[in-house]
Structure formats: structure tokens, C-alpha cells
């Protein structure tokens, strides 16, 4: 349906944007790419009094690649990530995940910061920041702070952000050149939200895995790291037997509810298969 009424502001500085958000005491929302927020307005799930458009904050559009990590400005679009050839080596897991984000037209406007702030439990970017232990840089009335991804997501569409806070950057730790990784997602139609997906990586110590990070989406109220699966991998050679154990551990670690798209039992089985396939990609 048509969107509810709201006021609109398009500030040119972050300070101004924060002040505008603060002025409405929780009844204002930042507008990034609008690819989740506008549908929520259309469904009248959200009806803020004020939208603060971040499109003129060009400092939020930068992708920085340095020795100590990768910084994505909050207004970096999916398309910018896929178009940046450097990221294919600087963070191949990020690129692999973003290839699954939504459809062509959405990728031309949707942003990383918007996806993180929206916090859909089946969205790829929240899964990546949790798996990779990213830090989310935000700025609000009382200044800037960093939030660890593990503490950022608090439930479906719920985050640690205060109403007047804006995400400025997503800081991913540096990727090591020889790291092995896999990303596997299952959706009925490519570009739709994941029914389940797994993002994982590990480093190698001789022929054994170490530093395993395993994250899954679509099977909980927020993106999850699966410590039980990481334990199965660390210190072991990633062979068929270990992959089978990891698959079982992944299914055992989650307890998704039934919903209109799939039963909980189906998703539980599916997430194991996603971990299995991602590990096979990683080990290949």
C-alpha cells in the first residue's frame, strides 16, 4: 500500500543527521538504501515521524583496504562490493556472500549499513560480520563507539543501536592470503532470503585446521556462530569424516521454529548440509 506520512530531511553532515534523529526521541529513522525500510513502510510495519536520508554523507561510501583490515562505509552498496576487484582477494568470503544478496536492482541501492541495522536473521551481511568478528562503528549523541558484531544483533530486526545512533563503518579484520573458506546458501529463488546459509573459514597448520569460524543464518532469531562446529574442525584435518561430524554438530546446534517457508526440522537438516557443502568448497 502507499507509505504512511512522514517528514523528510537530507542532512549533509553526520553531526546534523544525529541531531535530527535525536530530535524525535526514537520516532525518527535513518534512510540508507531504503531496500528494507521502504517495504516496511509500505506494509505499515514502520511508521516513523521523520526519515533522515543519509545519501549526501559521501564519507560513508568508502571502501578502505589496509593491512589491519577492511573498512566498509555504511553507505557502501552491494554493487560497490561486487565491482571492487580488490575485495576478491582482500575478502573473498564477503564477496561470495554478497553475490547472494537480493536481486540486481536491489543491489544497486541496498547498503551494508542498512542491512546490518535492519538485522534480518536470514540476511547475509549480518552473518558475515558475526562470522568474521567485525566491529560496527556507530556515532550518536554521546559520540562514537564500536560494537562487536557478536553483541550487535539482539533478535529479529533488533540491534544494540540506540534510536539516534547511525552506523558509520563496518570493520572486518584482515583476511589472510592462504585462508580456506566457503559460503553456501539455499533459497527457493536466487536472491531471495536464505532458508539457511553457512559462512565459514579456517587457517591451516600443516594439514590441520585452526582458527575455524563458522556462522549460519536463517536458523535462529539472529545470525549465529556455531562454537560446537568450530571445535570439531580445530586441530583436525578437514576430511570426509570431520565434515560429517561438522554437519551433525551444525544441525544439533540450532533449533529453528516452524514458519510458513519451512518446518524447523527441515531447516535444522538444511543448515547441516550448508555447512557440509561450505566445508567441501573450503577443503577443495
Amino acid at each position: 500500500m502507499k507509505l504512511p506520512s512522514f517528514e523528510y530531511a537530507c542532512p549533509t553532515t553526520i553531526t546534523e543527521a544525529v541531531a535530527l534523529l535525536a530530535s524525535h526521541e526514537g520516532d525518527a529513522k535513518p534512510l540508507a538504501g531504503g531496500q528494507s525500510l521502504v517495504p516496511m513502510l509500505a506494509f505499515r510495519v514502520a511508521s516513523p515521524a521523520l526519515l533522515v536520508d543519509l545519501r549526501k554523507l559521501s564519507e560513508l561510501r568508502q571502501i578502505k583496504i589496509a593491512d589491519d583490515g577492511i573498512t566498509l562505509g555504511a553507505m557502501v552498496r552491494w554493487r560497490d562490493i561486487l565491482d571492487d576487484a580488490r575485495l576478491r582477494t582482500a575478502h573473498p568470503l564477503l564477496v561470495a556472500a554478497v553475490e547472494h544478496v537480493a536481486h540486481y536492482q536491489i543491489r544497486n541501492r541496498g547498503t551494508v549499513g542498512g542491512s546490518i541495522a535492519h538485522a534480518d536473521p536470514a540476511a547475509e551481511m549480518p552473518g558475515i560480520v558475526v562470522t568474521c568478528e567485525a566491529n560496527i562503528a556507530v556515532v550518536g549523541k554521546s559520540g562514537a563507539r564500536l560494537i562487536e558484531a557478536a553483541n550487535f544483533f539482539q533478535g529479529p530486526l533488533m540491534t544494540a543501536l540506540k534510536p539516534e545512533e547511525i552506523i558509520t563503518e563496518i570493520r572486518l579484520p584482515a583476511w589472510s592470503a592462504k585462508r580456506r573458506f566457503g559460503f553456501q546458501e539455499f533459497a527457493r529463488r536466487r536472491g531471495d532470503f536464505a532458508m539457511a546459509a553457512a559462512a565459514l573459514f579456517y587457517d591451516e597448520d600443516g594439514d590441520k585446521a585452526r582458527n575455524a569460524h563458522v556462522g549460519v543464518i536463517g536458523v535462529g532469531d539472529r545470525p549465529l556462530r556455531l562454537a560446537a562446529v568450530e571445535q570439531v574442525l580445530n586441530g583436525n584435518k578437514i576430511d570426509e569424516a570431520v565434515i560429517a561430524k561438522a554437519e551433525a554438530a551444525a544441525s544439533a546446534a540450532v533449533d529453528p521454529p516452524d514458519d510458513i517457508h519451512a518446518s524447523g526440522a527441515y531447516r535444522k537438516a538444511l543448515v547441516g548440509v550448508m555447512v557440509e557443502r561450505a566445508l567441501k568448497n573450503a577443503a577443495a
Partner: protein
Amino acid sequence: MPIKFEVNGKPVEVEVEPRLTLADCLRHHLRLTGTHVGCEHGVCGSCTVLVDGVAVRSCLMLAVQAEGAKVVTVEGLSLEDGLTPLQASFRKHHALQCGFCTPGMITTAHALLSEEPDCDADRVREVLSGNICRCTGYISIVEAVLDARAAYQRDGKGA
């Protein structure tokens, strides 16, 4: 709020409420009814237009966000006389039946072919997966887009 932007090469100035989507602005204020509104929440792709050269869903963009932008609608991708190579290819391959999704298919395919004139069938399918057609079964649409590649390979514009 008053906004100024460019539509199909011509400057326009309209007075809109902030809640008005770009799709409704094009249709109701500018009477460019070639842009179709299907689902109105960013799923069907029939409202696809080009904003500053890239394909976007005009139902997921506010008209006020188009301030200063260059917008191209399906009307801007047609000729006064005759058919563009992309349109001719749709006709040749029977790539439409009811035609509701066609404006979105044309704008999306034009954006794709302009950027990637050598794309393969998998890429065409992947890109068009964001546009719903309930008549054709998509095969004829994919064939039409693939067949139109030659025109974009020649001059980069397909027109």
C-alpha cells in the same frame, strides 16, 4: 516539497509529499504510465527504471530522493518511429503476453546489456530473477535478451 530532476533527458519540477514513491511520481505527477506498479514493495520488478544509469525499483525509492538525478523510464528507451533492437527482439521471440511486466523487463535488460553486452544466459537469468512474469515462463524473455546483445555489442546503446 519541491523537487527537480531529469526524466528521459528533460528537466522536470514537481511538488510532492515525502512519502510519494518515485514510481507514483512518474505515473501520477508526470503521467509517464509506462512504469508499472505491481507489488508496491520491491518484489516484482515491474517498476524498474534507471536512476543515474543503474536499474532500480522505483517503488523502493522516494521521489524526493531523485532530487538532481537523471531518471530514464521505459518511455525513454523507445523511439518515435519503429522499435528499438531490444523491443524488436521481444516481439520476435514473443517475450510478452499480457505485457504488465514488460516495462520492467525492458529497463532491466537495457541496463544489463548496456553494462554487460557479452553476458551469457545464466547471467541474464540471474538478473531477470528480480522481475516476475506470470505469463511467459521466462524462456522467451531470456532468448529475446540474448538475441538483443548484438545491437549493444555494436554501439553500446542498443538503439
